[in-house]
Symmetry: C2
């Protein structure tokens, strides 16, 4: 099983109200059944107009938006806020982002990224006649480790976490716990061909295990409820 990961070139600048699924379909008419399309949060937020006006010269403006987008402040140090969003994601600045957006605007997280992924998937089925999976990705930091990695904030057509508990390891003994978050691994893989400054906002992964395809949902499968979390 070899995976290939290719950037999707040719998606034009995305504006509020754009049909993002249609733009992807036009850019990669060669999509095949079983492909995984990874789309970055930034263009999803732009298409959905998940934006807030901001005075870039006033740091309090940014902070106010971050606090409005947060349901719980987890840590605060200087200007950095680690908070929980209403979706349950814990990340820096509640996912509010000032890069690669028009001056005077901040990009917010989509209202429901799993729904965003389903809509794109439905458009790709309607336009191209293919059953693909869709992941909406974003760039998050993590405790203990430097450097950012891309993770999934929404998905459709693929299980977010693949549960290998109870299958046997290569010695024939039962594996203890092996629930792999394949949508996060796919989001990370896709980031490798997108870069941050090149304007490429989507990628296609071809060759994933067909057993992973099916109904999936990041908020339901990946977001860890506070009661079972040791770090909130």
């Amino acid at each position: 099983m070899t995976l290939t990961i290719s950037p999707i070139q040719g998606i034009p600048e995305v504006r509020a109200g754009d049909d993002l699924g249609g733009l992807v379909a036009a850019a990669v008419p060669t999509l095949q059944d079983g492909d995984v399309v990874v789309v970055t949060q930034k263009v999803v937020s732009k298409a959905e107009a998940a934006m807030a006006p901001i005075d870039p010269s006033d740091p309090r403006g940014h902070r106010a938006i971050v606090e409005a987008e947060s349901v719980r402040i987890v840590r605060r140090r200087g200007e950095l806020i680690i908070s929980e969003t209403r979706h349950g994601f814990v990340c820096a600045n509640a996912g509010v982002d000032l890069s690669n957006v028009d001056e005077g605007w901040a990009a917010l997280l989509p209202e429901d990224s799993d729904r965003s992924a389903r809509r794109i998937r439905d458009v790709l089925r309607a336009r191209l006649g293919v059953e693909v999976a869709v992941i909406v990705s974003d760039t998050f930091g993590r405790p203990w480790r430097r450097g950012l990695t891309d993770v999934a904030i929404g998905c459709a057509g693929i299980r977010a976490v693949v549960d290998l508990r109870g299958t046997e390891d290569s010695r024939g003994r039962e594996l203890q716990v092996t629930e792999v978050c394949v949508v996060d691994e796919l989001a990370a893989a896709a980031e490798l061909v997108m870069g941050k400054a090149t304007g490429v906002a989507a990628a296609v992964v071809r060759g994933v295990d067909p057993a992973w395809l099916g109904q999936g949902n990041v908020r339901a499968e990946v977001v860890r409820p506070p009661a079972e979390d040791l770090f909130r």
Copy 2:
């Protein structure tokens, strides 16, 4: 830029003292300059005899090994210990693993996974005449998000974190902070073709940005010093 990720088939059962680089060279003689070879911790630990004897019927035995491998207990709930290893990694059970090893033994983390990666890289250069990067990967959980993902615990021939601070975004403005941990993203990508129960312990990623290649070190670049960490 298209990436391909392929499992490395045909590495035999690894035993203490085996020349792991030589086994990889024999399994993929077609390696090319610039390829990234990802090898899982389990086979590195086996080759380096980083193992401890354990009585599988005695849960205290496992706990004692975990505590011996830890320099700081970060959280504890029931049998689960989240701790910091002497390398600075924060993970469940100090990385001590009972799956896919012989009954009566526990696999420990390699003493110095960056050194392990350098050794494999040196053997591949000597045997095959190629300049490749090598990543040693392991499977870690994370706060806030369910499901495990593979991350890098050692690397050679590739920068662990690629710093895009100061480069311009697509609007020509300076990006705020975009340090991407590419070795973690590559480890995650490689896991997608390895699975947990198939006995495939390594993969090759072809097509990475040549600008990332060069000296790198997970412990120096990725491990976040406790003083700048908000979650210890």
